[in-house]
Subunit: 95 residues, 10 copies
């Protein structure tokens, strides 16, 4: 089941530099891990912004929430989730 | 080059039914055609809405505008384009 | 899987009165039918507005889209879907 | 009498960790307590966000305000209340 | 129980003049009737706009919805309801 | 002359607790004082929020500004003023 | 007493041309008349838009509403009124 | 003097086709004419939309309004004007 | 050339009290100075807010930017500039 | 390929003055450097605001993101990117 997820990150400018570096490294580790699990098939950066657009493929809403809230930067991220359905003109889904 | 495109369709309720049917059929033909050309690799429907989210892969802004404005329902569609860049954690782009 | 759905209905004032009456009757029939199927466990009216707030319980995004777009007034309805997860303090889910 | 309540929590990143832990524990205690009282029949988490959607069942506006402002995280929560009425197609209310 | 209600009226410019006149007269009759019933203790016009701000005093959400949707111009009115509680500094409520 | 005033209070979480307590006490004193003066005939709390809705009765815009900016919490309050006129259906104003 | 008034005019494209011409002429007559009365000391056009920004000088809210709603294009105009007070640095008001 | 101008065009779907064609041709003539006059040095189309972004170079606000309101599609265009100043880092303006 | 300027001031609550007092005094000096220069013919306070509405009369956009950014509180002020043109019904501009 | 870029800068008022001065100098160096590279053909300041409007000319989205995120003030800047296409009435593009 596919979900469109937009994430806008906003780090406080007075965050301790060490904590900041740790958070960024941990975030990247988790991003790679979720991709390897196959639950995050698409991940892009929005040009000019500290924002991501991605598509998740998960079996349920509860698992999606668990994945998103497991991101180390989640506390500093505005997340917007949009459920997706198959498009009637989707070429890949046609016989 | 990738672009995120959201399209919200809004057909006037007093549109002539024949013109409506023709437009919908022509729109689907063009959607399939652009997918076959390889310029529209992802296309989803937003759950509950007459709206699409897609990703285009085109060589230039001018070609993207030409493709979008060639859609038969373009006149009735609110289109929002967001340029995408490669994400630093994109698994597919790592060696 | 639960989804929060808000629906704001807006009927054109120049809609033919017979078509209007037919649409309203068909909408109510479908609302009752979906409730009987068990996919629409909660349905409320927003005080003062021609708007509904409901919760759907469906196995997938695709089925949710199919149910919502089957509503006779769908063409005249602005629909906003919000995926829900179990709340960590939900009393009903505690042993 | 039913009220739809959306709550968006936003904790300051420089909140003292002990105070934070105390607040979260106290919030959960109060959430369970209000559910046991029967005034908070539905409580969900919004997927991807530190936000709740709930339905309260209370005898008056004043009691609703007293319950909401008694939540330990109230100071850090944006609350939006929408009064609900019985839906004309509500299956549960039909003979 | 008090509710703050803002109503913004928007009549279609091509409404039949006779129907318009009938609606306006019926609206005023109903406005006077609800005031006489004691359920609409305050009613003001917003300066410069075809908009009203009022306060209703009703025993329940369902009755408030019934009153509001009984207004002849309801179909052409955007209604926003805000539940009110007693203010802790309200002079009238102090001994 | 009547003015509708909405006030949304937002206190910084790191405000000194003593200053906070002083401000809240001074605010309540001033709220009672202005009511006794007869310039603030209606004052309600918005359910679920640290927000007030009130109606002021003042001889001029300048006096209204003086009253509002004299509130001890004014610095922390977002204020929105809407001028009110007599409603053509106001029962109290009819002979 | 001064009020800042912004007016955005929006004429339906299918308005009868004769009625349109009559309305525009009547609007200009009324605009000149109100200026001659001294109640509309400032009147500007917003560059690029069918919108005006003006300042009214009136003895009361009720008279302001009467003047604004007497404009022939009022039905097609979105009006926003902002009450003004004397500025503490206003040179004209200093001895 | 430079002004940034965004123009969003919205033609009614029931506009007479002949009038539509005439308007579009007249609009293009006027766009070329203003460019030849040197008052419209930059003109771009927004990708995916019936919208333009341009920069005007004019001696005064009044002339800018005259140019913009002379466009044949002005009646169907939402126009937003932003005055521009020389940027302190503008390479072209440095000796 | 006239420009409508709205300024919303927002001072951080933890600003050093001495710096605050100095800034406020310097702001008032500059406001008086610009009025004496004749470039700021109208200046009002918005009732209930720490906001100003003014009209500037300047020979160019660059000078307007220089004047506005010379205000001591500019760093704490949200500024919105709207270019004004002569109104076709402006009484003062008629022979 | 052209992109319209709006940048709104917002520096925290408690930023260390030395770091602030360094950032501003580095930002200007980078702004000049990108202009000399030919990728930033237009750069203007928005009158009254700490905001820029510019046009970038780059071969790809990825390069645009690299240029924008290389700006020393990027962390404090809200960036909005709009892809541009050639306008059908662009005089410069006509034979």
């Amino acid at each position: 089941m596919l979900f469109h997820v937009r994430m806008d990150v906003s780090l406080p400018h007075d965050l301790d530099p060490n904590r900041r570096a740790e958070l960024l490294a941990a975030q990247q580790d988790r991003e790679l891990e979720l991709q390897k699990l196959g639950v995050w098939p698409h991940l892009w950066r929005v040009v000019g912004q500290y924002s991501d657009i991605g598509v998740f493929d998960v079996p349920s809403n509860d698992e999606l929430h668990a994945f998103l809230s497991s991101l180390p930067l989640w506390e500093f991220t505005e997340v917007e989730v949009t459920p997706l359905a198959q498009h009637p003109s989707d070429l890949a889904a046609r016989p």
